[in-house]
């Protein structure tokens, strides 16, 4: 047993090396399979239930939506809809569908399918439903004829086209046939009813998902991939090594250290681009010691911003609630920066002028950057004689903690990803009091902010809208409900034989396979 095992190991090693040299190349010529390394599983394929970027990746490649998104800055591009018109008051959108569009079973993607999909999304009220909730209702979508869809918005919503790439169209016939008692949720969880360029070939939950090109897909053109694999790789160091060794073509969750280590290596291209993904630390304005605005300001002034930036690597500090590239950003906004003297002045004005208190911060367990920032915060607060209790929590527990001010931790770390490049996306979700109890804005409420945001949402005059957002940012800075953190750059590493990749700063880790080729 001993000898066979040992020999076997050596044979295996040799076989692997040989396989890398010849076998894989030969195979790669007939089958061009792109491997993506990611740490997120795809637990659900239901386009109206699933969330997370891994699901977005799977769904945007297996389903289609009315419009897609491309370019930098991102622009809506035709997908199922060949063209569209918008009424003058901005409340009525008319889409002309591509007559060639068909589902995987051969049936056409028609206006009825669009209507069915929107209504199912709203009915289930999960997944991406929040993006259109309150904007579109069950009566909004109308099938004028087979290839014409009219959508009447309940309220004017300027960024409507920006959310459409994330509303996927299902095949009503297939869903109805497998409807069950839960609107087809059980069936769609692991089955596809889409029209996208790819379909699922192999699913090993928690390990990998293999997609293959649909032979007679309706969308013509695109890259030469015959398939792709979404490989769940929990360690970022492993993801990096897979790209380095050519075992994966794209890695999507790399740290700045990983990027540095890959820099200059032959055969590897790095994508380091700003994206609309903000990180901030929300302070509990309704319960506990941080109800005191002076204490919040003191903490905002004591925080070690440079340290935060250093451990983040490829990132830039936020200068308020908006990224600089978003229309409406106030470039003259006075922001808090590390200034211990000022921090102590604010502290002296607060109800605990000498510190001596203990506050808690919650972050998502397993998120390395958040762990580091929590430790930077702990060190910063020592200067104010404030003790910090760091609580790593699983995401669902954080979400339920945010439901009431009493259970919300004193400081609450969140990433917010803008799915569309409009100030409303970040501002409304993050600061309007109607979102209190949700993870994006657990506690902060200010009537003035509410009215500014509601007005801005409906304001179609760009100049007036900008002025409203500037006013909002000033009020917010005075209240200091957040420690505005960083805008992390999107960090992707890919083999240089990946062709056709064009960076778009929305959900770029949910790789769009259609245009990609392997050279």
């Amino acid at each position: 047993m001993l000898t066979t095992t040992r020999r076997g190991v050596m044979a295996g090693g040799a076989a692997l090396l040989a396989g890398m040299a010849t076998g894989r190349d030969a195979q790669a010529q007939s089958r061009r399979i792109l491997v993506m390394a990611s740490n997120q599983d795809i637990p659900n394929f239901d386009p109206h239930v699933a969330n997370g970027y891994s699901a977005s990746m799977a769904l945007r490649n297996t389903y289609d939506s009315l419009v897609g998104v491309a370019g930098n800055p991102p622009k809506p591009v035709p997908q199922l809809a060949q063209s569209w018109t918008i009424s003058d008051d901005g409340r009525e959108y008319t889409f002309k569908l591509d007559p060639a569009a068909k589902f995987h079973d051969g049936s056409p993607v028609n206006a009825e399918a669009v209507k069915y999909s929107f209504n199912r999304l709203l009915r289930l009220n999960r997944g991406n439903a929040w993006m259109i909730a309150g904007v579109v209702d069950q009566n909004s979508v109308e099938a004028i004829d087979a290839t014409t869809v009219r959508i009447k918005l309940v309220t004017p919503f300027v960024p409507f086209l920006s959310v459409l790439p994330w509303v996927w169209i299902v095949n009503p016939a297939q869903v109805e046939a497998n409807k069950g008692s839960d609107d087809g949720q059980a069936w769609l969880r692991s089955n596809l009813a889409g029209s996208g360029a790819f379909r699922l070939r192999r699913a090993e939950a928690g390990n990998l998902y293999e997609f293959e090109r649909v032979a007679d897909a309706w969308r013509k053109g695109g890259g030469n991939l015959t398939g792709a694999i979404w490989k769940i790789t929990r360690e970022t160091a492993t993801q990096r090594l897979m790209v380095q060794r050519g075992e994966a073509q794209i890695a999507v969750d790399l740290t700045s250290e990983d990027m540095d280590s890959l820099k200059g290596r032959a055969g590897v291209n790095l994508v380091i681009e700003p994206e609309y993904r903000t990180f901030s630390m929300k302070m509990n304005t309704r319960h506990g010691p941080l109800q005191d605005a002076n204490l919040r300001r003191a903490i905002a002034c004591a925080f070690n911003y440079q340290g935060m930036l250093d451990v983040a690597g490829y990132a830039e500090l936020m200068k308020g609630p908006f990224p600089e590239s978003i229309d409406g950003f106030d470039k003259d906004l006075p922001v808090y920066r590390t200034d211990l003297a000022r921090a102590k002045e604010y502290l002296a004005k607060s109800s605990t002028p000498n510190g001596g208190i203990k506050i808690t911060v919650a972050h998502v367990s397993g998120l390395e950057q958040q762990r580091r920032w929590a430790l930077v915060l702990l060190d910063s607060l020592r200067a104010l004689n404030i003790e910090l209790d760091i609580k790593p929590m699983i995401w669902p527990d954080m979400v339920s903690a945010a439901r009431s001010p009493e259970t919300t931790p004193d400081i609450f770390m969140v990433y917010q990803t803008a799915n569309y490049g409009d100030p409303d996306n970040l501002a409304f979700a993050g600061y309007h009091s109607s979102r209190n109890g949700g993870w994006q804005n657990p506690t902060y409420a200010n009537p003035e902010v509410d009215s500014l945001l509601t007005q801005a949402r409906a304001e179609s005059d760009a100049e007036k809208r900008r002025a409203l957002y500037v006013r909002f940012q000033r009020v917010l800075m005075e209240d200091s409900p957040d420690i505005f953190g960083v805008l992390e750059k999107r960090k992707l590493a890919m083999r240089s034989n990946v062709q056709g990749f064009a960076f778009t700063p929305v959900a770029s880790n949910a790789i769009d396979l259609f245009p990609l080729s392997l050279g």
């Binding site: 250290e257 070690n304 451990v311 430790l375």
Partner: protein
């Protein structure tokens, strides 16, 4: 005890001590454990950067390779890895000791009850102990620790939950055997209570195997504590526990290997030291078990 019984016991101690000294591995074990104890007691003062243990971050000196300034290099926050590893000694040793003591105390309690009462109580308790053997202890400890949230006390509780059956068996067997022995019968005839019997006659007699088992278990307890830390459900940050240090350092491999290798080596040395010492102690205190 009279001097006539004390003499042979002393003699056997002396013989055991000789054997202990003869075996250089046991001496090595003692040496390692002594160093660990010194580090555990004086850690804060022996560490070159005590501020880093308290949570100071120095982001201008991140991920520096081992040098004369930073013996084990620095981590992703610019903290001195050597200081953190030194500070981790106390946590690992304390947690390991707590697990073993809680486990042993509970086990002795259960074992004594089962042994003295016998009957259905014995049956139920021992079946429960059997059941514990079939449960994958680590997974259970992981589940309990994860649900209770991070913290040393929670972790110790989660691990100790599946630590008692070994001791319970040991004590129960001994109680069963000793219960019938003449001197116990004699003292019972003289009216000694159960409590007194346990403390006066039974426990002193089985102290040696219990101590041997505890010292052998110590290494394994430290290992289990580190395992939980490694999975990411151990102590609260910034407590520098070895397993957690190793766990967060995985993202730094292979370029910044020192952030992972040194905490890992520390776990190994601690477990190794206690295992060697435990082996030696078994030779010393429990010659019957020696082969």
């Amino acid at each position: 005890m009279s001097s006539t019984t004390a003499h042979p016991r002393l003699e056997s101690w002396r013989r055991g001590l000789y054997r202990f000294r003869q075996s250089w591995v046991s001496v090595l074990g003692l040496l390692i454990v002594s160093v660990l104890l010194v580090l555990a007691i004086g850690g804060q003062h022996l560490a070159p950067y005590p501020q880093h243990i308290a949570g100071l971050v120095d982001t201008s000196a991140r991920l520096q390779a081992p040098s004369t300034t930073y013996w084990f290099g620095t981590n992703e926050l610019g903290q001195d890895v050597f200081s953190l590893v030194v500070a981790g000694t106390r946590i690992s040793l304390l947690a390991g000791m707590a697990v073993v003591i809680v486990g042993a105390a509970f086990g002795v309690f259960v074992g004594a009850i089962a042994g003295f009462l016998g009957g259905w109580v014995d049956e139920v308790l021992m079946r429960l102990a059997d059941l514990k053997l079939t449960v994958p202890g680590l997974i259970l400890a992981m589940a309990v620790a994860a649900a209770l949230g991070p913290g040393i006390v929670n972790m110790v509780f989660a691990i100790a939950l599946s630590w008692w059956p070994g001791y319970a068996r040991l004590v129960r067997g001994e109680v069963m055997a000793k219960r019938e022995e003449t001197f116990v019968l004699a003292s019972r005839a003289m009216g000694a209570g159960t409590n007194r019997l346990l403390w006066k006659h039974i426990l002193p007699n089985i102290m040696s195997p219990i101590i041997v088992k505890m010292s052998l278990d110590m290494g394994f307890a430290i290992l289990t504590v580190a395992s939980l830390g490694f999975i990411g459900i151990g102590v609260k940050p910034p407590t520098p526990e070895w397993g957690s240090l190793l766990s967060v350092a995985r993202v730094n491999m292979p370029d910044y290997w020192w952030t992972a290798i040194f905490p890992g080596l520390a776990i190994f040395m601690a477990v190794f030291g206690f295992n060697l010492l435990g082996d030696g102690l078994r030779d010393l205190l429990d010659p019957k078990a020696r082969r």
